[in-house]
């Protein structure tokens, strides 16, 4: 994959984008009261954690957070390349009347978000669900949009967007590359 890979965000710009998203979440919700941050497995989990840390620095409050596996709510069970391996879901306490911020790395067709909303609603009746995304790459197939976006990136369907936010900030990156044959 190496040669066709193009870095579209480096560690610094990812960090800045997530700081801005954290501020925007607080601004929109007038603080951190009744907020719950939920990462979508697996790409959204580290991003949710970073946003929780940033909100803590800004507001001094540790917002409850969790993660959600949407495998059982997908509508593309029959598609090739789909992996049925289940992951874990962890929702902190009741979500009734809370504002949920769903966090994912890439927003593409919108089907994952649809599944995540269905899954969340099985846990209770939140006051509102908002969506925070690091990279919006377009090609939506459902009427879904993000409330907080790190960056809008025009892509073609033959491309893949990879987000890496492990380790130190300087190692973080978002790359765009051609889809490989077996992907």
């Amino acid at each position: 994959m190496g040669s066709k890979e193009k870095v579209i965000m480096d560690g610094k710009s990812i960090d800045r984008a997530l700081s801005r998203i954290a501020h925007e979440i607080l601004e929109r919700n007038k603080g951190a009261d009744d907020l719950i941050i939920i990462g979508i497995c697996t790409g959204g989990i580290p991003l949710a954690r970073i946003i929780v840390d940033k909100i803590k620095k800004i507001e001094g409050v540790e917002v409850p957070s969790g993660y959600i596996d949407i495998t059982l709510y997908r509508d593309d069970l029959s598609r090739i390349g789909y992996h049925p391996k289940l992951k874990k879901t962890e929702i902190p306490g009741s979500i009734d009347d809370k504002t949920i911020v769903l966090v994912d790395d890439v927003l593409y067709t919108g089907r994952t978000i649809r599944a995540a909303m269905d899954a969340l609603i099985d846990f209770g009746r939140p006051k509102a669900i908002q969506l925070a995304i690091l990279v919006d790459r377009g090609h939506r197939e459902l009427p879904i949009r993000a409330d907080f976006v790190g960056r809008n990136v025009p892509t073609s369907r033959s491309e893949v967007v990879d987000v890496k936010v492990e380790g130190e900030v300087k190692e973080w990156k978002v790359v765009i590359r051609e889809r490989e044959e077996n992907e």
Partner: protein
């Protein structure tokens, strides 16, 4: 580790690999989480149909499969021999073909003849789950036993497990033995000598006729039901004598490890193979087995319904 079950049917644990068993158990662990929620239902098998085809009476296993299917949003249809055309002389294959023509996505089969589900699996394209065939295998029970042991003990490998009772007629024992040995447990079987299969060494287990010796140092004791209905002739003189020599009670259980657990596939003949006080004590995980049963059967239905789509696409 593989993410797929690369087989069309689940007929027995004899040829299951360790990876396959782990995939089922890990999937079941996620399913168990769903059962703790207020809304115990997910949409992943919406629009799929599971047919329970039971040629032998069963309430627990059938109900467990039925609940498992419903928790995944599948439509579940029960077809039992007592009310079906089997009594009108239709052959097994005809019955199954008729049901297949109604386009089910998974067929769960119980039959009193060993090999009946295998026969159907060979002739039908729909995935078949063996829910117990004669005295041969009962893989979903074997998997739920493995799941319960792993959950309570934290592991299976290296554990000393005793299977006690009528091994010869028990499909549960056979599936347990295959699954446990594949996962690296050390299995001992114990029971009246006519009820110990002669080929036990080939199964990779130790056998003994002395319950006290058998219990010593065990982590897990699986007590089997005395199945009078499966015994064509008398294999032991009387129930009273069986209880005296092979009945498990609190006193005998002291010979096993201090933290040993007792399991039973149900239904328990209280006071026969298992004493009342032991069945209700906290070393008994019988109800946890029942709970695990739903999660494991959800995993089985989920993994099989998916395999079929892979094959078709």
């Amino acid at each position: 580790m593989s993410d797929f079950l690369s087989r069309k049917d689940i007929l027995g644990l004899r040829d299951f690999t360790r990876q396959e068993i782990e995939l089922v158990l890990d999937t079941a662990a996620s399913m168990e989480d769903i059962l703790q929620r207020e809304i115990k239902k997910v949409p992943s098998l919406r629009g799929k149909t599971v047919v329970n085809l039971f040629f032998e009476p069963s309430t627990r296993t059938r109900t467990s499969f039925e609940i498992a299917g419903k928790r995944l949003s599948a439509d579940v249809v029960n077809f039992s021999a007592a009310v079906s055309s089997v009594k009108k002389g239709e052959t097994l294959l005809d019955t199954a073909r008729n049901i297949e023509a109604m386009k089910p996505d998974v067929l769960v089969v119980r039959h009193s003849s060993s090999g009946a589900p295998h026969f159907l699996a060979r002739h039908l394209s729909v995935p078949v789950v063996n829910a117990g065939d004669g005295r041969h295998e009962h893989p979903s029970q074997g998997l739920l036993d493995l799941y319960t042991i792993r959950k309570v003990k934290g592991r299976i490998e290296g554990l000393n497990v005793l299977i006690l009772g009528d091994i010869l007629h028990s499909r549960v024992a056979r599936s347990d033995i295959y699954g446990l040995t594949t996962m690296g447990a050390k299995v001992t079987i114990c029971g009246p000598s006519p009820l110990i299969p002669r080929e036990y060494q080939a199964l990779g287990v130790e056998a003994t006729w002395d319950i006290n010796e058998a219990l010593r140092g065990k982590d897990v004791v699986i007590v089997l039901r005395i199945q009078l209905e499966r015994m064509e002739s008398s294999f032991f003189p009387s129930i009273r004598e069986y209880v005296r020599y092979f009945g498990l009670n609190r006193e005998r259980m002291k010979l096993a490890k201090e933290d040993a657990i007792v399991m039973h596939p149900g239904p328990v003949n209280r006071g026969w193979e298992l004493a009342d006080d032991l069945a209700d004590s906290d070393v008994s995980v019988i109800l946890q087995q029942v709970e695990a049963g739903v999660a494991v059967r959800m995993a089985i239905l989920y993994l099989l319904a998916h395999v079929r789509e892979e094959v078709e696409s």
